[in-house]
């Protein structure tokens, strides 16, 4: 059986997210982009209506929403501002390792507070000299009695300096490579942890991105997720799921590019008629629509697989790579539809291109997605 109808709940969730974004996100997106400022009031408002940290399980007081629910919400936020969505998305990314590997006690301790206020989680994997090669971590974790001592530097960490905690991946034995890694929850107030906000991003400038420096940061061993050696596995299983919201956000950007372009194509006249009557423009709009429908279907399919505990790594990689690549193409074609106006930040389309560029890079570059896909093809 195949069903393409959203449930009543999902329609309500979609309507809520759409209205919320229209009223709270879209109007402030350009300003936060220009000023590179953190939209605290948006995060607070999202918490108020329950759109923040939606994957926190019901058992610890959350809503326990599904990946498909999250994809529906992600598309709406991506439509309004991909940068602002990254704040919410990165928090769900920080939650995912706990959904996969935390004990009930750990979930209670770390996740329950996330639904009590506008609080965030973060996921700290990338390092200055280590991105795609996640097995080659240089951050060290030393087991010392009932404590773990962490030393090293993480970078490109979304929410790193504003989150309540980060899930930090570190190596306790570099010789063991992947099998020498651990995932550890590090609360932000641990002595020895410092964070620096990174400036000068091309896009997604509302989303705060940090460098995190760990200088002999001690956490109790009860903060470790899973067992010694599980770190890499937890990170990969996390990303296999959280690439789906990255795709969903890109679908939102794509939809915005199409909406803005078609509106402009109906209004703007050249040679005595609206430019939408020229095939040169029509083909661009049609290509955006083709990409929008297919990207959304693949994203929802990957989410459905994840929600039904079926293998989803390949489908998520396809969704992430396809949605973000085609959203980038659509955004830059939207600039072409707008011509000179599209190049100005007075109009919304240049931001779409700058923002969605990052969807092609984070949570595994699209090159890495293709490696994942090819590995499945060649199996």
């Amino acid at each position: 059986m195949i069903g393409f109808e959203l449930s009543d709940d999902q329609k309500q969730i979609q309507a809520l997210a759409r209205n919320f974004v229209k009223d709270n996100v879209t109007p402030v997106a350009a300003q936060h982009d220009r000023d590179e400022t953190y939209p605290a009031t948006v995060v607070e408002a999202a918490h108020e209506v329950g759109l923040l940290n939606v994957s926190v399980p019901e058992a610890v007081g959350g809503l326990g929403l599904s990946m498909l629910d999250e994809a529906i919400i992600g598309e709406e936020f991506g439509y309004g501002c991909m940068g602002i969505y990254t704040i919410l998305m990165a928090s769900e990314l920080g939650i995912m390792p706990l959904l996969l590997a935390a004990t009930p006690e750990q979930q209670q301790r770390f996740l329950a507070p996330l639904v009590e206020g506008p609080r965030l989680a973060a996921f700290a994997l990338s390092e200055p000299n280590n991105g795609s090669d996640a097995g080659g971590l240089r951050t060290r974790a030393v087991f010392d009695g009932d404590e773990i001592v962490i030393t090293g530097t993480k970078t490109w960490i979304s929410n790193g300096g504003v989150a309540d905690f980060s899930v930090v991946f570190a190596s306790f034995d570099p010789a063991l490579k992947h099998k020498g890694t651990v995932a550890v929850v590090v609360e932000s107030d641990r002595p020895g942890l410092s964070t620096n906000k990174l400036h000068g991003k091309l896009g997604q400038r509302a989303s705060p991105t940090y460098e995190m420096v760990f200088d002999d940061v001690r956490v109790p061993i009860s903060n470790m997720l899973g067992q010694q050696g599980d770190g890499f596995k937890i990170a990969m299983r996390t990303l296999d799921k959280t690439r789906i919201p990255v795709a969903a956000g890109a679908v939102g950007v794509l939809r915005r590019a199409l909406d803005e372009s078609s509106k402009y194509a109906n209004e703007r006249e050249a040679f005595g008629r609206p430019i939408g009557q020229f095939q040169a423009i029509q083909f661009k709009l049609a290509n955006m629509k083709i990409a929008l429908e297919t990207a959304r279907l693949q994203t929802w399919y990957a989410a459905w697989l994840a929600d039904n505990d079926k293998p989803h790594a390949e489908a998520a990689a396809i969704a992430k790579a396809y949605a973000s690549d085609s959203a980038f193409d659509a955004a830059q074609e939207a600039i072409n539809v707008f011509g000179g106006y599209g190049y100005m930040n007075e109009y919304p389309v240049e931001k779409l291109m700058r923002d969605v560029k990052l969807n092609q890079i984070y949570e595994g570059t699209n090159e890495i997605q293709r490696v994942v896909i090819a590995r499945h093809v060649l199996q």
Binding site: K11, Q12, I13, A15, L16, G50
Partner: protein, 251 residues
Amino acid sequence: MKLITVLKQVPDAEARIRAGSGGVDLDGVTFVIDGMDEYGVEEAIRLREAGNDVEIVALALGPARYEEAIRTALALGADRAIHVETDTDLDPISQARVLAQVVQHEGADMVLVGGKQADWDSAALGPALAEVLGWPHSDWTTKLELAGANVTVEHDTDDGHESLTMPLPAVITTQQGLNEPRYPTLPNIMKAKRKELAKRSLDEFGAGSGLTQIVDQQIQTRERLGKMVEGDPATAAAELVRLLQNEAKVL
């Protein structure tokens, strides 16, 4: 005390509606709870939040798709809902006769309903409901306060507004300015699933097929003259006045 909020589901104001010779084509259109009715739901919730002991019942008469709008009302804060399900298009008077039976059976103290229904732009439902029930009513209400067994309201008139007081039970029609409706929060959307939504059949109410039947629908088109008045401003203004007086005969 029991409050009934009557609601309709209408096309989203931002939806693109296609209209042709056969009437309005609603295929693929997004539907939402009528914004005018949402003010009533919000007001009922505010009366509860103000410390009044109230039960809020959402009531709707319409096709199966109305269930989404009813769920929205439950997610906003209604305690339970009654859906009289039918595909028959009933005129407002006939609707009022059906809804009044439910209102009486429930023994409600107040009915809140939108001042105007956004689909057919009719403002008749609230007053018709008051008429059938024999209750006092306030239309286009912008302010509402409970005072013992009475309700005090302000409502718009052509030139301003007036204040009224009337005994309960009463029918209140709502509009913009009464309040600012909240979003249904995600936790409340999830909780709404577990709230009672009672289904009733139109056959139970002896409504028949209504008092009026739609026999034809036409799209209103206006031919424009496209006449441009030229010349310097003083001459153009004089010419415009002459045209309005002699040709359009509106002055």
